[in-house]
């Protein structure tokens, strides 16, 4: 255990939960989240892992330790964790990958028609993946996948910025690029989200983390503002209703208009991400896990996670559908 001075000097270590959240108040052998009040005052705290009882902690630590092992790969070896992170993180790049052919060929028709769908949906996917890490840590106690949070955050920012650039320069709206971004309520909110994402993107490195110190974490909490703004962005874009006949939001061609309504998808996903973050809920989960009642936690969380999956699958469906059209440079008119 390092000293308080180390902790203040090394925000990176703090971010990775190497030190206690409040080093002055807790004893030297403090284990994060063990105390009942750990969740208090940590609304939206992305850094604190779930506390747990010893058997569960042992199991989680053993998975983390196993991930540190190496896989033999040709003459050399690669860490299991690295391989898993690459495999899981590669999907974050998918939205940008879909747009690459049209960028290389500068196909303005494809960029204009589908950049907002492909990169906008991609940004949403990456934001949710980024926000999913903390609940996953809370529920599993494992931490080997925590670096993915930063990666998905970066990919979210890239997709969001790309979406805004595409909308500004290639959309059909009237006016100059700036006017295109602010003339509709939904574009204005989207633009605001991108503006907020830019400082997060710029400071998403260890150097900025060290320089900003404790302010870095506060700055990163802008992610929650972006998350909230996404609701208004989708509400103004899609409305609250869904498609009936040939009118309304959400493509009804396959008969699943409700599932294709992006605001509903957002709500279905956000319910899980938000609920697991609520301090009393976090404490309840920790308390039940300490009692060894993991099955109860599983039963309670499963329906909420199922709803998350329900929404998320249709977002992924949208991304792949629109993305493949963008990739073959034949943008979907939907």
């Amino acid at each position: 255990m390092s000293t308080t001075r180390d902790y203040e000097r090394d925000p990176y270590a703090r971010e990775h939960d190497l030190y206690p959240a409040e080093p002055d108040l807790y004893p030297a052998d403090y284990e994060s989240g063990v105390y009942p009040d750990d969740g208090l005052g940590k609304w939206g705290d992305e850094e604190e892992p779930a506390a747990d009882h010893q058997p569960r902690r042992r199991w989680s630590k053993s998975v983390d330790a196993w991930m540190e092992g190496r896989i033999k790969f040709g003459g050399t070896g690669v860490k299991r964790k690295t391989a898993a992170l690459i495999l899981l993180g590669a999907w974050g790049f998918l939205p940008l990958f879909f747009m690459l052919p049209s960028l290389f060929t500068f196909n303005t028709n494809t960029i204009g028609n589908s950049v907002d769908d492909t990169l906008g949906t991609g940004a949403m996917v990456n934001l949710f993946m980024c926000l999913l890490i903390t609940p996953a840590v809370t529920l599993t106690g494992q931490r080997w996948f925590v670096p993915l949070r930063r990666w998905y955050g970066i990919m979210f920012a890239c997709c969001g910025i790309g979406d805004a650039l595409g909308a500004a320069f290639f959309d059909d709206f009237a006016g100059n690029p700036f006017a295109k971004l602010v003339e509709h309520t939904f574009t204005l909110i989207g633009f605001l989200m991108v503006l907020l994402a830019i400082p997060l993107f710029i400071t998403s490195n260890n150097w900025a983390q060290r320089k900003l110190g404790r302010y870095w974490k506060r700055l990163q909490r802008l992610t929650y503002v972006i998350w909230g703004l996404l609701f208004f962005h989708l509400a103004t874009l899609e409305g609250f209703g869904f498609q009936r006949g040939s009118n309304g939001s959400g493509f009804a061609g396959d008969g699943d208009a409700i599932f294709h309504q992006r605001l509903y998808q957002y709500c279905a996903c956000s319910l899980f991400l938000l609920t697991i973050r609520l301090p009393p809920v976090k404490r309840w989960i920790v308390a039940r896990q300490q009692e060894g009642r993991n099955r109860l936690v599983f039963m309670a969380v499963m329906p909420i996670f199922a709803l998350f999956l329900f929404g998320f699958i249709f977002i992924i469906n949208e991304l792949i559908f629109k993305g493949t059209h963008s990739f073959v440079e034949n943008p979907s008119s939907e």
Partner: protein
């Protein structure tokens, strides 16, 4: 939980200092359970409702396709569906140029049929070539199931006319050439009638029951 704190020597510290704070924490934890239970119930309901809603997908899909004027069996992943209007446009593009060319060839034949055998035969050969191209285009046209039978009749009628005109083009005299005129005109009238049927069928919006 407090016991373990005491055992670990933390009883003098913040959390175990008084019962008041730990009771507050317990109450908060209980509230967490209530919140989680409520959200889990709501989620269960929504998931079950979603699954129930998904069972009606097929029927809604048909209604949506009919509402959008999608031609049955012409659904494409690429464009979603081929609508009646899209098909009409394709049909108009196909027929306009070929029919114009055929009309020009027929006019050319009519002018030469009474005075110049070589020119008349040349006009007939051109008409046959155009008719064959038209026939090939029709064979490739994505006719929906309802339109397929009249379209097949139309293609057969065109092929019969092509055969007849081929024989006509081999005539050795103007008299022999003109002797085919009645049969060729009759086949032309049959084609015209078939074209009208195809056109009518194409321009009719599909009903919900016709959608796949």
């Amino acid at each position: 939980m407090n016991e373990s704190y005491a055992e670990r020597g933390y009883a003098r510290g913040g959390y175990a200092r008084g019962g008041q704070r730990s009771t507050k924490a317990e109450r908060s934890t209980r509230a967490g359970g209530v919140i989680l239970a409520a959200v889990a119930l709501l989620s269960s309901f929504l998931v079950l409702w979603g699954l129930y809603y998904a069972t009606g997908t097929g029927e809604r899909h048909k209604v949506a396709l009919a509402a959008a004027g999608c031609e049955p069996n012409l659904l494409s992943v690429n464009v979603g569906c081929t609508t009646v209007w899209m098909l009409e446009r394709q049909w108009t593009q196909l027929t306009t140029s070929d029919l114009q060319q055929l009309n020009a060839d027929v006019a050319d034949y009519t002018v030469n049929a009474r005075r110049n055998l070589a020119k008349a035969e040349s006009a007939l050969t051109a008409e046959v070539t155009t008719a064959k191209a038209f026939d090939r285009s029709l064979a490739q046209f994505p006719f929906p199931p309802v339109v397929a039978p009249p379209a097949k009749t139309l293609i057969q009628a065109i092929q019969a006319r092509i055969k007849l005109m081929g024989e006509q083009a081999r005539s050795s005299s103007l008299t022999q050439l003109r002797s085919f005129n009645d049969r060729v005109n009759a086949s032309g009238a049959a084609i015209q009638a078939d074209m009208t049927l195809v056109h009518k069928a194409l321009y009719t919006r599909p009903t919900v029951n016709q959608e796949p």
